[in-house]
């Protein structure tokens, strides 16, 4: 806890000049986000102090194994977590703290301010309602489009994601997985939000369709000023799409930096292992030496002492058991990593 307080001091010092001009405030600023779930065995931390910022028009990728807390972060951004979750820290969306909003204001911000493209669009769409109605629903709710125009707007949106207009009358089960994901994207764009959170948007799609969906997201976001937070377990997906990358492990960000650099030369041993686990097309080196990571992610209810990656780390040392390092600066372009060795090299 004491280290966290220490980490927050600089932010506190910076805070006064934050809200001065709205132009200075980034689109999204997450500060020391913490989430625990209440379970039968007590409180279990799922997210342990995650901070990042996102400028309008830029794209941030969040990577990590399943269970590292990345989906919890996505849901926490709009306070969509179940009642058993307790959230700490702050989520500033255009300078306004989502975690402190009243319910009415929060509902107004949801979808109109920030929308989500959910994982596995099969279940994220309501099976008994036409997709057109589901796309139109947030527009009517937030009043972004006059009621008489929603039909036309739904058609435009469907065409913009590469689906014919008549698909508005289809039900989700009549669509393929890729088509459902397109509908989901059209729905996310419905109210022209400033931020889109894409939670595993391409998981469970086959590779060709995956590439199409990624290109679609890329094209739609590019030049529109929309900020994108894309969450995936697949580092190669993020590397192609995003400007910056944050790698999460056991509820914390362990490495952050420009996407290409993080993938090519990770500083944290976990990020390095993760990027080695996905062989890059056209890179014979990675194909010849595919590397997996031994062991499983730690149980959040019983995290190891010190650095939580230590038990699986190939280069762990004795001192790693003593400290759980914060993110240190690890190079140009705002690169940061949470490993004692990084600090050493920097010094």
């Amino acid at each position: 806890m004491s280290t966290d307080d220490g980490a927050r001091v600089p932010d506190g010092a910076r805070a006064p000049d934050g809200p001065q001009g709205t132009g200075a405030e980034p689109l999204l600023r997450v500060e020391d986000l913490r989430v625990d779930y209440r379970t039968a065995g007590g409180r279990v931390p799922a997210v342990r102090g995650v901070s990042f910022t996102l400028e309008a028009g830029s794209k941030l990728g969040v990577a990590g194994e399943s269970g590292c807390g990345k989906s919890t972060v996505a849901l926490a951004l709009l306070r969509l977590l179940p009642k058993s979750a307790r959230v700490g820290g702050s989520v500033l969306l255009e300078g306004e703290d989502v975690t402190a909003m009243r319910w009415g204001r929060l509902r107004a911000v949801r979808w109109a301010g920030a929308s989500i493209v959910f994982q596995g669009a099969m279940h994220a769409l309501n099976a008994v309602r036409r997709v057109g109605d589901q796309i139109a629903e947030p527009m009517l709710l937030h009043g972004t489009v006059p009621p008489g125009r929603t039909g036309a707007r739904v058609g435009e949106l469907l065409e913009s994601v590469g689906l014919p207009r008549w698909r508005a009358r289809s039900y989700p089960h009549e669509l393929s997985g890729g088509q459902r994901q397109r509908v989901m994207i059209a729905m996310a764009l419905a109210c022209e939000p400033r931020l889109i959170i894409a939670d595993e948007p391409t998981t469970a799609l086959d590779v060709m369709v995956q590439a199409q969906i990624l290109r679609l997201i890329d094209d739609l976001v590019a030049g529109s000023g929309i900020g994108l937070v894309m969450i995936s377990h697949d580092l190669s997906v993020l590397a192609d799409t995003c400007d910056r990358l944050a790698v999460m492990y056991a509820g914390r960000v362990v490495e952050e930096g420009p996407a290409a650099e993080v993938v090519a030369a990770a500083r944290h041993p976990y990020a390095a292992a993760l990027s080695a686990a996905f062989p890059r097309v056209g890179d014979p080196g990675s194909r010849m030496a595919p590397r997996g990571l031994p062991g499983d992610p730690p149980d959040p209810a019983a995290l190891p002492e010190g650095c939580s990656f230590r038990p699986r780390c190939a280069v762990a040392e004795e001192r790693c058991a003593a400290t759980d390092p914060d993110l240190w600066s690890a190079g140009d372009g705002g690169r940061r990593a949470a490993c004692v060795k990084v600090l050493e090299e920097a010094v």
Partner: protein
């Protein structure tokens, strides 16, 4: 944000869509719908036929001589017995009785009641209205109550309200309906104890009350207790089914989507969770109509409601075979036809079944 260029770049249709995935309509779909309808109709027809056959043999082959039962306690000569047999067609060989019975059923001729000595069809025509009124009102009220309370209980699962709702429903479900009816009569109708008789103890109308509005109010007044009894015993089933189907939907991702869109909780429930949860419940409501039929017999008996249920009861005591047999066929066919309706309505409610 509209960038048609992108749209052109992406192939509009990916292969592997479940279901037809192509243009709506088309001949294959029509054929499938027809086959579905045909199958359901055939099943219902076979069920109806089986009910007819069962009803005939159940009441005829099993022991007991109807003519003796009819004349029980009276001095009758052998000739009189023979005469009665001939009058009711009981002297003919069994196969011919069966043939007569089948032909009769198709013409809505169910024979002559032993006890009332009038055609059974007439008796049924006279009594069917009150039963439909009572059973219909009871079912609609019970279903609405069950669906609303079940949804609310599921939405606030584990809360004191949920537990109380479920406990009350289970308790009322365990109570025999006829006893509950008797209790209501004692407490609210017979005027015993400290409460005056608020409601009539029996029947459907007060003799002498005339005029459209007055008699409607009078019938409604007579209906309160029977309908309350029926609702109390039946609604629990709907409540429990609805509660568990809403709970099944609770964790679903599309509800998170709906909340993320900024819908308030009550709208998430009404627009998204309930329509999905209703589907299994509706089928079960129709399947449950058999139980409602049983309840109607008891409640009509207890409240002396002039419907088919009390007619059935009076026929049992004789036993008045043509009457009981006809009512058995009627009750069973009503349920079969209701189930057929459910099968036909279900695809309209659930798009997943429609294609």
């Amino acid at each position: 944000m509209t960038r048609p260029a992108t749209a052109a770049a992406a192939p509009p249709e990916e292969p592997g869509a479940p279901g037809p995935g192509t243009a709506p309509g088309g001949p294959s779909r029509a054929a499938r719908v027809l086959r579905y309808l045909g199958g359901r109709l055939l099943t219902a027809a076979v069920s109806l036929l089986a009910v007819m056959v069962t009803s005939f043999f159940l009441f005829r082959i099993l022991p007991g001589d109807p003519v003796r039962a009819m004349t029980e306690g009276r001095e009758v000569s052998v000739e009189q017995l023979e005469e009665l047999r001939a009058q009711f067609g009981l002297d003919k060989p069994l196969w011919q009785q069966f043939a007569d019975y089948c032909v009769g059923l198709l013409r809505f001729d169910f024979g002559t009641s032993y006890q009332y000595r009038v055609p059974v069809a007439e008796l049924i025509a006279e009594r069917i209205g009150p039963t439909v009124l009572l059973a219909g009102t009871g079912t609609v009220v019970a279903a609405l109550l069950g669906l609303v309370l079940g949804t609310r209980a599921a939405w606030r699962r584990g809360s004191a309200g949920d537990r109380a709702t479920t406990a009350v429903a289970l308790t009322l479900w365990s109570v025999p309906s006829f006893w509950l009816g008797l209790l209501l009569i004692v407490v609210l109708a017979s005027g015993a104890g400290w409460l005056p008789g608020l409601f009539p103890t029996s029947g459907m109308s007060t003799p002498g009350v005339e005029g459209g509005f007055d008699s409607a109010v009078d019938v409604a007044h007579h209906m309160v207790l029977p309908v309350a009894t029926m609702v109390a015993v039946v609604y629990a089933q709907y409540l429990l089914i609805m509660r568990s189907s809403v709970l099944d939907e609770m964790g679903a991702d599309y509800l998170t989507t709906a909340r993320a869109k900024g819908l308030r909780d009550s709208l998430v429930l009404r627009r998204h969770a309930v329509p999905n949860a209703l589907l299994p419940t509706v089928t079960l409501i129709f399947l449950n109509l058999g139980r409602v039929m049983g309840g109607v017999i008891l409640i009509e008996t207890v409240f002396a409601w002039p419907g088919l249920g009390s007619l059935f009861y009076s026929g049992l005591r004789v036993p008045d075979l043509p009457l009981v047999q006809a009512l058995f066929v009627l009750f069973a066919s009503a349920v079969i036809i209701m189930n057929l309706l459910a099968d036909l309505v279900y695809p309209l409610l659930d798009p997943r079944v429609r294609t």
